[in-house]
């Protein structure tokens, strides 16, 4: 029983991080109709920046509770990168064919991957001080790290906040209008360029936050972004590209299948996930919650 609870919590922990990455990917596709292959790298950059900041803060003698404030700062650093990239590299190619869009973001994958190596070297960066700062919780004779519950909490809050922004604010209306009909939105006087930058910034923040909150429990390593992207793809394919609810349900499905897979069929755990994605694409190409493409 205790094992079951712990595995459920583990799944929710992964689901939180995956949702943060996939929701950003989905939002950016929904609004700009661009599949951002570099989105996983934003997650990687978030992890490295946060781990580095925490390391610097510890060296400066900042008391541990304050270190938690650095998590959103790491995510904000990714936003800074995003608002440079969008107008500079993506805006010129919105009207171009899909192959060029994919190639530019693939170029970004290569660039960001090596920039991380250039800045922080090839060694893993850890920030486990945060993990150790929180007490462990006894669950039926086993202990569970309290930090993981914080991550689950952040995932829930992020999902709610994103839902509020998209469905309950004026900006959300502008976002949805632009996503449905860019030219009509523009004709009605919306500053589409600004909506694009903001949507891209939100997507970057989510991915960066995903990296920031995972780094206290797992070291930031090279290639983590490339690995994460494929999983995020699986999530949005299952849930439906461009759908917030889809990203949430997809993240839950992928996380629970993964946890079960690691337990019962570790050799084909990844293959099963990709197969699920392929089957969903075949049966319902727009995903479980996607609208028409």
């Amino acid at each position: 029983m205790a094992i079951l609870i712990i595995q459920t919590l583990n799944s929710l922990f992964y689901a939180s991080v995956l949702f943060l990455i996939a929701a950003g990917l989905s939002l950016i596709f929904g609004v700009m109709r661009i599949v951002n292959l570099a989105h996983g790298n934003f997650y990687g950059v978030g992890a490295f920046v946060t781990a580095w900041l925490i390391g610097v803060a510890i060296a400066l003698g900042v008391p541990t509770p304050w270190l938690f404030l650095l998590l959103p700062v790491g995510a904000a650093a990714v936003v800074l990168i995003g608002i440079v990239i969008e107008p500079l590299l993506l805006r010129p190619i919105y009207r171009r064919a899909e192959e060029y869009q994919l190639l530019v973001t693939f170029g970004l994958v290569l660039i960001l991957e090596d920039l991380i190596k250039l800045i922080w070297g090839g060694l893993p960066l850890t920030a486990d001080t945060l993990m150790d700062a929180l007490p462990s919780i006894p669950i039926g004779g086993l202990i569970y790290p309290g930090y993981n519950l914080v991550v689950i909490g952040i995932g829930v809050v992020a999902a709610l906040a994103l839902w509020m922004v998209i469905y309950r604010t004026k900006f959300g209306v502008m976002l949805r209008a632009t996503s449905q009909d860019r030219r009509m939105a523009s004709a009605l006087g919306l500053d589409v360029g600004r909506v694009y930058v903001l949507a891209f910034a939100i997507g970057c923040f989510m991915a960066g936050l995903g990296g920031a909150i995972i780094v206290p429990s797992q070291a930031a390593v090279l290639g983590m972004g490339i690995d994460a992207l494929v999983l995020a793809f699986v999530v949005v394919v299952i849930g439906g590209l461009g759908s917030l609810k889809g990203a949430l349900v997809g993240a839950l499905i992928v996380s629970f299948v993964r946890t079960a897979g690691v337990q019962f069929f570790p050799e084909i755990e990844l293959a099963v996930l990709y197969l699920i994605a392929a089957v969903v694409l075949l049966v319902k190409p727009t995903g479980l919650f996607g609208s028409t493409a």
Partner: protein, 335 residues
Amino acid sequence: MTAAAPSSLLRTLAPPAAIGLPVLALLIVLPQVIGVYQTQLLAYGLVMAVAALGFNLLLGYTGLLSFGHSAYFGLGAYTVAFLARDLGIHSMELYILIGLPVSALVSALLGYVCVRHTRIFFGILTLALSQVLWSLALKLFWVTGGTDGLRVPRPTLLAGTLNFAGSGGYPRFINSYYYYCLAVFVICVIVMWVIVHSPFGKALQAIRDNETRARFLGLRVRRFRWIAFLISGTVTALAGILWVPLNGLTTPEVLYWPFSGEIVFATILGGFRTFAGPLVGGIAFNYIKTYAVASTEYWQLLLGVVLVVMVMTLPSGIVGAVSTLAAKLRRKREA
């Protein structure tokens, strides 16, 4: 009509032959001038060109962007590795003879699934399926060697008449194997040229340009896409088959999605709107990557910048840019 047919055939064949034959002559002579290392590099380039050539039947001629062609390259490579390890086969001809039907079968299966979609969903579906193969190669380590991959010893060529065992075999192997790759390369180019200029190839281009109209003309769109996928996957797998003896080792890297990105990169670098684009792109990409890796630890950064700058400023690729330039010069001379 009977009199016109040969002359029209001549007219379609003359310009590519005028460029192709001197290039072929150059490719034949070059290894006698350059060293073993450069010959090996050029052989890698030819392999990449074959992979891009196969890929471009889908992108350039059918209008489908596959982001999972690493699957077919890796499929060819691993098939050879299994044949060498489990069946003790060391003949290059047998590798090709067994590898091609296996690749065609898997391409047909995966292609049947993928061509139900177009545009971005086709890309994601090909990517997802290629990652199934990648994760299997990575995780089933007692079959595939996991991240260590599988070693493949130097095979014999031409039904065992050329053997490269023993000391000093390496330079001899590279020299012979280069010409082997060149021969396969030439055959692939000719076959692909015939395919894209056949009624079947014209049908693919019609589908690419206007799917609805092609359907109204009575073309069975999905069936044509499926056959194109099959040919494309098989040719790219042939590149994987050729690559393994050259590399001596195959690892899951060649199945991972960034390698699919490299195939797309090479094709667009050369220019996917022309027949020669992927050929030039494959060889050029191989040089760029090799020298980037050799000159800096941050070669990915360099490649990424090249890619982004190229898409922004040179979208028609090397071949497109050269032919535009040639047209401009011609007009200036006439003016």
